[in-house]
């Protein structure tokens, strides 16, 4: 990522990447050429990032699962704690036979993994990895991410239907029901930080949390008593949104064998796999950006203007997000899976009302602040 970083002195509200490219490319290029180059470069960067991330996360997941379960996890591939396991798996998946069932609905079957992965890729566009290290600094960044990441559901439904397998179909139906109902609490839980920051832009939220020598995170702010429960709500909804345990019903392996991707193998399966980790990272990154200070950490402001500033900011952001990814794994290897009607009940009877309550509290708090301090 750091290659694409603009100098720290770049305009704070601009689109970092496009500006950078504008500086590198010869002058006088038409806008579409600039936009196309930007798109290709950002796609390459994001894809590479997701591929590496998926590999690292697979390895991490196995190690975390292993050590939680008093065993080692992969130890053989690669010299140190099986670090090359994910690489080997990736190669294996790439060279595996590309199996398409004769009874499958072939266009849907083939399209599904692409839809799933491309939406995950698209959502990364609005993630602020550092101040201005963002592909497209949208004013509606949060809205964009929520909107585009729910398109994944279509891919999953296509996969489930196209596989022509009853278990897959069950997985797809569950995904549809689950995601449709968890969009609500997910969106609502994001309203608390949005209200606090007064903006839907993630970059703006990150910049707002840079005070107090980099510790003015939302969870440490005056509204911490709203931030902490709202993060819990967001995190629960995010788990459901990304199909992670205890909400892994679409693929619940003890019930549906492997759910919607039962019939997939090889590179198509790898796409689903990458999407899962990309979505996990995406949700963690949103959580980091809004609740845990985005790229800010104590001491970062001291480096303002130096070469180190941007790389360290990105590193801080990625590390914080990966910590949340780790928490997702930790949860997965702790709790059982809930049933589909309970998923619905939790979504509609617990998360949504609690979110609304939190919104009420957050709004009152903003109002109280406005009255008391006249802000």
């Amino acid at each position: 990522m750091s290659a694409a970083l603009p100098p720290a002195a770049a305009a704070p509200q601009g689109n970092g990447l496009t500006e950078l490219l504008g500086g590198l490319l010869p002058d006088g290029l038409p806008f579409w050429a600039l936009a196309l180059t930007g798109a290709v470069v950002s796609f390459a960067i994001i894809f590479a990032f997701i591929a590496v991330l998926a590999m690292f996360a697979t390895w991490l997941e196995r190690k975390v699962a292993g050590h939680i379960q008093v065993r080692y996890g992969p130890m053989r591939t690669g010299a140190w704690h099986g670090w090359a396991q994910a690489l080997a798996d990736g190669v294996k998946l790439l060279i595996k036979e590309d199996l398409v069932l004769t009874s499958a609905d072939k266009p849907l079957f083939k399209l599904a993994p692409m839809v799933v992965l491309s939406t995950a890729l698209a959502a990364f566009v609005a993630l602020p990895f550092g101040p201005n290290a963002i592909v497209a600094d949208l004013d509606l960044g949060i809205y964009f991410i929520i909107a585009i990441s729910s398109i994944t559901t279509f891919g999953v439904i296509m996969a489930g239907w196209g596989s022509n397998n009853k278990w897959s179909l069950y997985g797809a139906m569950r995904e549809a029901a689950q995601v449709a109902s968890y969009e609500i609490p997910l969106g609502l839980s994001l309203m608390m930080p949005v209200m606090y920051f007064g903006s839907l832009s993630l970059n703006h939220a990150g910049a707002m949390q840079s005070g107090w020598y980099g510790m003015h995170w939302y969870v440490f702010s005056d509204a911490f008593w709203i931030a902490i429960p709202s993060f819990a709500l967001f995190f629960t909804a995010a788990l459901a949104e990304t199909k992670r345990a205890p909400f892994d019903l679409p693929e619940s392996e003890s019930e549906l064998v492997a759910g919607f991707h039962t019939e997939y193998s090889g590179i198509r399966f790898a796409f689903f796999f990458m999407e899962e980790y990309a979505a996990m990272y995406l949700m963690s990154a949103v959580g980091t950006a809004l609740w845990f200070g985005a790229w800010n950490f104590p001491g970062l402001s001291l480096l303002e203007g130096t070469v180190l500033h941007a790389p360290l900011a990105v590193a801080a952001f990625v590390t914080k997000s990966l910590l949340l990814v780790f928490v997702m794994m930790w949860v997965r290897w702790t709790v059982p899976r809930i049933r589909i009607d309970q998923v619905m009940a939790l979504g509609y009877k617990y998360l949504t009302p609690l979110c609304l309550l939190m919104i009420l509290l957050a709004a009152s708090w903003e109002w109280v602040k406005a009255i008391a301090f006249g802000a």
Partner: protein
Amino acid sequence: MANSTKDPALRAGERLVELDVRTQDVEINMGPQHPATHGVLRVLLRADGEILTGAQSHLGYLHRCAEKIGEKVDWLQYLPYTDRYDYLSAMNNNLAYSLAVEKLLGVEAPERAQFIRVILAELNRIASHLVAVGTYGMDIGAFTPFFYALRERELLLDIFEKICGARLTYSYIRPGGLMNDAPAGWLEQVKAFTELFDKKWGEYWDLLVDSKIFVERTANVGVVSEELALAWGCSGPMLRGSGVDWDLRRDAPHLVYDRLDFEVIVGRGYRGTVGDCFDRNYVRMYEMVQSNRMIRQCLEQIEDGEVQHPDVGLLLRPAPGEAYVGIENPRGELGHYLVSDGSKIARRLRVRGPSFCNLAVAEHLLPGCMLADAAAIIGSVDIVIGETDR
């Protein structure tokens, strides 16, 4: 949450399936290769969306003619075959068979052998329940408790390996006593385990059984009422989970069980209705504690002595006659009905397997539940396919 089990009709085991819109049901094959069927059980499910409307189990994928083999090999040679029907509690199977043959022979094992038998049977009950609880956690999506349970089971297998040399198929308890005496240091190893186990037990409870999701998934699900359990001939935790106070260790005293102080755990609707999946699991959890307690008492009472009846050798020729002995296997009543014609080979050998009888009721529970409950209910019956199919 899902089933309004306060309805008396439901508590009697009947399921009311209300459908608003008539649609075509889908038939799904759960098994013979499915992660939640614990082996090669095949359940043909009929479902209306997530709600099951019918279920039928198909058995026999693991049929190995154990009973017929029993009529072809001599009395002692059948012992290894008993290991193989319920392979998670082979010691109890050995014990059940040996007691039946001893009844035919009219002998009783020496006292030390009886104590060691009880220790082994209870250790094996713990090992078996550990797998039952652990895999049940896995059925409903929690993987980690399974590994913790297997960790303690591994220590038990080490104990078994030390006394008989095998880790799963022991063939150790034999008619007339035991294959050989416990090696030096074995009783101390058992004692160390009992102390450790009491500490580890809480982990399974806190991590799995007390987990809110586990409670939600199991409480009020798959309710087997007392009448239903009795009508279908359930036994073991399946019966006790339904609140029937019936345990062969206490009610048909054999070995030295009458000298031990223990409680029979019965389900009492700790988190929901009496006889739900949670209660069956609850019974298993606390039975482990009671077994541990029994082992500790045995270790205090055991004395030195012979471990094999002097008149019972390797080649047995029981007098003509018949005998039935049922004992409390971890899964319920495991009975052997033997007919001897005075030769060295059984005339007739018949096994009453607990998981076979317990499984029968599952078909009755599934309609009306959700698809995910199928895994929870079948798992709570704790079947071992080796035994249902024999």
